[in-house]
Every structure is written in structure tokens, then in C-alpha cells.
């Protein structure tokens, strides 16, 4: 008996030291997250993505400093914000960041079984395909929003005529992508309908639980929070988008809960959710 347990302990040691050698250094104190300028430049979709990553890192208890740079989009290795600079590594977007953090030994979804993990991935896909695309559509394909908000914000750090050139270039790129995924001919109402359906699905899955997978938040919670919170607190040309979310009270409560739990104590709740 005694020899058996000794053998098991030896195996465990080998496994854990192997894992340690695969992961690099521990999470450094000076990890930084880069996004565009908060006040004048960043757009709805990028803000949502950045907030999702910040929420995720908070949930993992990993400190990160947020740095705003006008050229964050171009600094990123994949062209998308946010990205984190940890030690010598640069990783962008939530998916790869979750993988990177997992390799360092931190994970929020370890407690889930295979079925739940598949479900979580499916809902994350839903948010990316519906909510994120709807945000991009509203920003770049709705003429009113483009004219009043997006164009001016996107080009704000650059001098004339570069500000117009870059904004038109980006708009053309997004419109092309929309056509490729079949959203080119959608109207604004259809897009808002899609948002409503997505919120309905999320609301149903959440039910009365505090988080999507009951007691502990996962990366899905971070992602949903990032998008919903940003939609609720961003001033657009009209309130239609945020109204769609406000229809679901459990989603509102969910956002408020995460905000209080993970952000308020750090003083980040500068624009808190207004209850209707």
C-alpha cells in the first residue's frame, strides 16, 4: 500500500514539473493591454472586445494595465484589438488570449465537462456571429451612424486628409466583409431583430443563475458582459440597440452583477448601467 501511493505521487510530480516546463514564466506584474483611445477614438465593437478581455483577466485574478494608443489596431499582430503584451509575447483577441492564459495554468472552464464546454463554445460563436456583426453593421453600414459618429471617431487621431482616407478605407473593408457573410442586403430592422433573437437565446440560457454555468463565471460570461455592457452604455444616434437588450431583465442584472463584482472596486464603473 505504502509503495503504491509513493508510485502515484512520483507520477504526479513528473506531470506537474512537465507542465511547469511547458509554461513560461508566471504572469508578470507589468502585463499590458492595448486598445484605442478611450474618449475620442474607440468604436463600439472594439470597446466590447476590449472589455470582454479585461473582464476575463479580472475573473482569472490576473492584473493587467490598460494602455490606450491611437495605432493599437495596427500594432496588433492580427489587426484586431485588444491585444496583450505579456513578457515577450504579444497575443490578440479573446480566443487566443484564453488559450495563452490556460497555458500559464489559469483557466475558468476547467470545471466544465465536455458537453458544457461544447455548449459554451457554441454560445460564444453565437455572440461573435450575431452581436459582434450587428455592432459592426450599425457602425459602418448605417449611414446615419457612420456620418455622425463612426467616421469622425475613427479618423480623429490623424491629420487631414489621412483621417478621411483611413475611415473610408475601413468602411469599404467592413462592407465587403458584410457582403461576404450575407449581411450586405440586410436592413437595420432585420439586424435589430437578429440582436433581439440573440438576446432571447442568451436570456433563456442564463435563466435565474448568477452566471451561465451556475456559480462560477467563464469566458462566455466575460464575452457576453463585454458586449452587453458596451451596448447599454454607449451613446448612439438612437437607443434602438440598447432597448433590445433592456427588454431582458436578467441580462441587465447579470451585467450589473459583474460590474459590481469585478470592476467597481477598481473604480472602473464610470458609466454605470441605468435602469429603465
Amino acid at each position: 500500500m505504502w509503495s503504491g501511493s509513493w508510485r502515484v505521487r512520483f507520477q504526479e510530480d513528473k506531470v506537474s514539473s512537465f507542465r511547469k516546463s511547458k509554461t513560461a514564466e508566471p504572469w508578470p506584474e507589468n502585463a499590458t493591454l492595448y486598445q484605442q483611445l478611450k474618449g475620442e477614438q474607440i468604436l463600439l465593437s472594439d470597446n466590447a472586445a476590449s472589455l470582454a478581455v479585461q473582464a476575463f483577466l479580472q475573473m482569472c485574478n490576473l492584473p493587467v494595465k490598460v494602455v490606450c494608443r491611437a495605432n493599437a489596431e495596427y500594432m496588433s499582430p492580427s489587426g484586431k484589438v485588444p491585444f496583450i503584451h505579456v513578457g515577450n509575447q504579444v497575443v490578440s483577441e479573446l480566443g487566443p488570449i484564453v488559450q495563452f492564459v490556460k497555458a500559464k495554468g489559469h483557466s475558468l472552464s476547467d470545471g466544465l465537462d465536455e458537453v458544457q464546454k461544447a455548449e459554451m463554445k457554441a454560445y460564444m460563436e453565437l455572440v461573435n456571429n450575431m452581436l459582434l456583426t450587428a455592432e459592426l453593421y450599425l457602425q459602418w453600414c448605417d449611414e446615419a451612424t457612420v456620418g455622425e459618429i463612426t467616421h469622425a471617431r475613427y479618423g480623429s487621431p490623424y491629420p487631414w486628409p489621412l483621417n478621411h482616407i483611413l475611415a473610408y478605407q475601413k468602411q469599404w473593408e467592413v462592407k465587403r466583409k458584410m457582403k461576404a457573410i450575407g449581411w450586405g442586403n440586410k436592413t437595420l430592422d432585420q439586424v435589430l431583430e437578429d440582436v433581439d433573437q440573440c438576446c432571447q437565446a442568451l436570456s433563456q440560457r442564463l435563466g435565474t443563475q448568477p452566471y451561465f454555468f451556475n456559480k462560477q463565471p467563464t469566458e462566455l460570461d466575460a464575452l457576453v458582459f463585454g458586449h452587453l455592457y458596451t451596448i447599454l452604455t454607449t451613446q448612439l444616434t438612437n437607443d434602438e440597440l440598447s432597448e433590445k437588450v433592456k427588454n431582458y431583465s436578467n441580462l441587465l442584472a447579470f451585467c450589473r452583477r459583474i460590474e459590481q463584482h469585478y470592476f467597481e472596486d477598481r473604480g472602473k464603473g464610470s458609466s454605470s448601467i441605468r435602469s429603465s
Partner: protein
């Protein structure tokens, strides 16, 4: 001016010739050119005719050819036929008329074709490229030229459209407008750069010097060459707009630009500060005598980070291309100030093989290069800057063979001993 002139057979006695100003009809007659040794005869040019003009305008011809009227002898008349290459190819035909020493000058011209194409390959400074060009010379009749050029190379790809207009009567005074796009890769900094720009320049001579004032507006886009690019370089990625005004002055009395035997070149250029922009001044001095030459490396304002780079086969030999000075994780960032100089001695090959023929293209080459590159700490004042540039000098010496390729290029094969290598240099 009439566009066609018929040459009648020359009369036996000069003064009896009638119709001084008689213009010919549009009749083309095969001229019977009378062969005469006219070299040192005193002449007075009475008429100048042009044969074969199509789109070239009259006023520019008057300007260019005005000197012909002032010619006192035939040599001068021929020499006054200047810069016609911009307009046309022009052999000279002469006839005698009226006064015993009167001269009727006829230019039989062939205007340059409306469109010419060219294809070149260029090899230089460890990179090669293929250049395709399209030229529309003498576009509107006054020696304007539009050029389109496309260049595809190992380090850089570019295309550009340029419009050039000289001042009629004084081709050294000219202006040109260019539109261009250049894409390049710089592995020593792990940087990729795309520039789209517009520039306008105006050149004019002042006594023996030639001045150029140029405005350049560029939309610059920087990107990382790979995922392993250092963060210091990654921070520079993105778009920016640069506008600059520069002035250059050149005095060149050399007799060859590749291996001059005599003469000197002095080129000074400066970029004054515009608003929040940078300013810089550079000078390049080359002096040559039959056996001694001192090519100084050019002030390379690298557009990537608006900094200077040092190192490479045309600046400090023995160091890798642009691989001297401040660097981060293997990427070279460049510096705010530099100096560089070189001393070169060229001699014919030992034992003079192939003397008088092929061997003349080669020279043995002994050199001493030195330079330094650093960033300046602006709080310290000019003496600290000079001190900083004087410490940790990189230098190298060596010997090799130089081969001159026509008047265009030179090939060098050198053995270098780098000295004063600082940590981080390559």
C-alpha cells in the same frame, strides 16, 4: 517659320541671289548638300529653318535657337544647338545665301516619338530590381515630359508618375511634380513600409551652383515584418502623414560620377523645421584626384523611423547593412545623429595585367572607413553631443578590388577588418 524649306542648288555668284526672305512652299526637295570645309569661315547667320516639326511649339524653338543667330563662326553655330535632345534629334544642314558670308541654317529634325518604353535592370547596394518605364517626351510642344516608372526589386517595389517642365530658353530652370507609391522591406529592423506621396520640386541655377527646392507630402504606413518583431518597432506601426520642405545645393566639377579623376562634388541639403516636424542638415563632399579618392557615405535619411542608419558596403564596410547603433531585440532602430567618413586609395592592379584594355576597368582599393551613430540627449548641450559622437567610434580598414562597369556602377570585393565594434553591432 516655315516648316519645310527647299534647298535649291547654290548659285555660282553669291550677291546676285534674289528673294532674301522668300519662303518656300510646302515642297520637299531632296537637298543636294554641297560639301565644303566651312570650319573657320566667318559667317553671319541670316535665316534658320526647321524641317519636320509637328507638335513642338514655335516659342520654345526661338528661345533655344536664339544663340545660333549670335554665332560668329560655324563652330559656334553648331555649339549653339543646345539641349535639342529634349525636343528632337537635329542634324545640321547649311546653305549659303545673300551675303558672301551669310548663312542659312536648316535643322532637319525628327521629333521624338510620342511614347517610348524602356526596360532596365538595376543592381546596387546588395539589392537588385527591374525597372519598366514609359516616357512621353515633349508632350505639349515645350519639352514637357511625363514619365511613368514601375520598379520591382528584391527589397522595394515602387511606381510613380512624374511631370517635368523646363523653362523655355533655360533648361536648368525646371520644375517637376511627382506622384508615387513605394513599398519596401527592411529586415534589419523587421519593418515593412509603404509610402504614398506627392512631391513638387523646382530647380534653378545660381552662378556655378545648382539649387533645388522640394516639397514632399507622404502618407506613410509602417508594419511589422513578422511576429518576432521587437516591441519597440511594433509600437511604430500604423499610419502617419509627413510633410517636408527641403533645399539642396550641388556644385559638381568632377569629370565622372563613378571613379572621377579630377574635380569635387559638394552637396548640401537641409530640411527646415515645419511646425512640429523634424529638421536635419546633411552635407556630402567628394574629392578626387587621379590616384586618390575620398567618397564619403551619403546621409541616409531612412524614412522608416526618420532616423539615420549606419553600416553596409557603402558606408562603414565590415558591418552589416544598417546594423550599427541602438537596437532592440535584434532590430536596429537607427539614431538621431551620425557622422561617417572614409579614405580610399585606388591604384591600378599590381603587375598591370591587361594594361590599356580590360585591366583599366579594375583598380586595387585600400580603404579606411569610420563612423558613429547615437541618440542625442537634448538636455546636455552641443559639447556633450560631440563628445558622444566621438566616443566608441566604429571603424574598419581593408583592401580589395573595384571593377568599374561603364559609367553606371562599380563592383567591389573587399576584405574588411572591423574595429571598434560595440555590443549589439553586427
Amino acid at each position: 517659320y516655315s516648316t519645310v524649306h527647299s534647298l535649291e542648288p547654290l548659285p555660282a555668284n553669291g550677291p546676285d541671289f534674289g528673294a532674301l526672305g522668300e519662303e518656300a512652299e510646302f515642297v520637299e526637295v531632296e537637298p543636294e548638300a554641297k560639301q565644303e570645309i566651312l570650319e573657320n569661315k566667318d559667317v553671319v547667320v541670316q535665316h534658320v529653318h526647321f524641317d519636320g516639326l509637328g507638335r513642338t511649339k514655335d516659342d520654345i524653338i526661338i528661345c533655344e535657337i536664339g544663340d545660333v543667330f549670335k554665332a560668329k563662326n560655324l563652330i559656334e553655330a553648331i555649339e549653339a544647338h543646345v539641349l535639342a535632345a529634349a525636343l528632337f534629334n537635329a542634324p545640321l544642314l547649311l546653305g549659303e545665301d545673300a551675303l558672301p558670308n551669310g548663312l542659312d541654317v536648316t535643322f532637319e529634325v525628327t521629333e521624338l516619338r510620342r511614347l517610348t518604353g524602356s526596360y532596365n535592370t538595376m543592381v546596387g547596394n546588395n539589392e537588385g530590381s527591374m525597372v519598366l518605364g514609359l516616357k512621353l517626351p515633349n508632350l505639349l510642344g515645350r519639352a514637357e515630359k511625363v514619365t511613368f516608372q514601375f520598379s520591382y526589386g528584391t527589397k522595394e517595389t515602387s511606381y510613380g508618375l512624374s511631370f517635368f517642365k523646363p523653362r523655355p530658353g533655360n533648361f536648368e530652370r525646371n520644375f517637376s511634380v511627382n506622384v508615387y507609391k513605394v513599398t519596401g522591406q527592411f529586415p534589419w529592423s523587421s519593418l515593412r513600409e509603404t509610402d504614398r506621396g506627392v512631391s513638387a520640386e523646382y530647380s534653378f541655377p545660381v552662378w556655378k551652383t545648382s539649387h533645388t527646392v522640394k516639397w514632399d507630402g507622404v502618407w506613410r504606413e509602417l508594419g511589422c515584418l513578422s511576429r518576432a518583431t521587437s516591441f519597440a518597432v511594433r509600437k511604430e506601426s500604423g499610419h502617419s502623414l509627413k510633410s517636408s520642405l527641403s533645399h539642396a545645393m550641388v556644385i559638381d566639377s568632377r569629370n565622372s560620377s563613378i571613379l572621377p579623376r579630377r574635380g569635387a562634388l559638394l552637396k548640401v541639403n537641409q530640411v527646415p523645421r515645419l511646425g512640429r516636424g523634424e529638421s536635419h542638415t546633411g552635407a556630402r563632399f567628394l574629392y578626387g584626384t587621379p590616384s586618390f579618392n575620398s567618397p564619403a557615405p551619403p546621409a541616409c535619411l531612412w524614412k522608416g523611423l526618420h532616423l539615420f542608419y549606419l553600416g553596409g558596403p557603402t558606408s562603414v564596410r565590415g558591418f552589416s547593412m544598417h546594423s550599427v547603433g541602438p537596437q532592440s531585440e535584434g532590430d536596429y532602430l537607427g539614431g538621431e545623429a551620425y557622422w561617417a567618413g572614409g579614405l580610399h586609395l585606388y591604384t591600378p592592379l599590381p603587375f598591370r595585367p591587361g594594361q590599356g584594355g580590360f585591366g583599366e576597368l579594375f583598380r586595387t582599393h585600400f580603404f579606411l572607413n569610420a563612423g558613429n551613430l547615437c541618440n542625442l540627449n537634448y538636455g546636455e548641450g552641443p559639447q556633450a553631443h560631440i563628445r558622444k559622437l566621438a566616443e566608441c567610434i566604429r571603424w574598419s580598414y581593408g583592401a580589395g578590388i573595384v571593377l568599374r562597369l561603364g559609367n553606371i556602377a562599380r563592383l567591389e570585393l573587399n576584405y574588411c577588418v572591423p574595429m571598434g565594434v560595440q555590443p549589439g553591432d553586427r
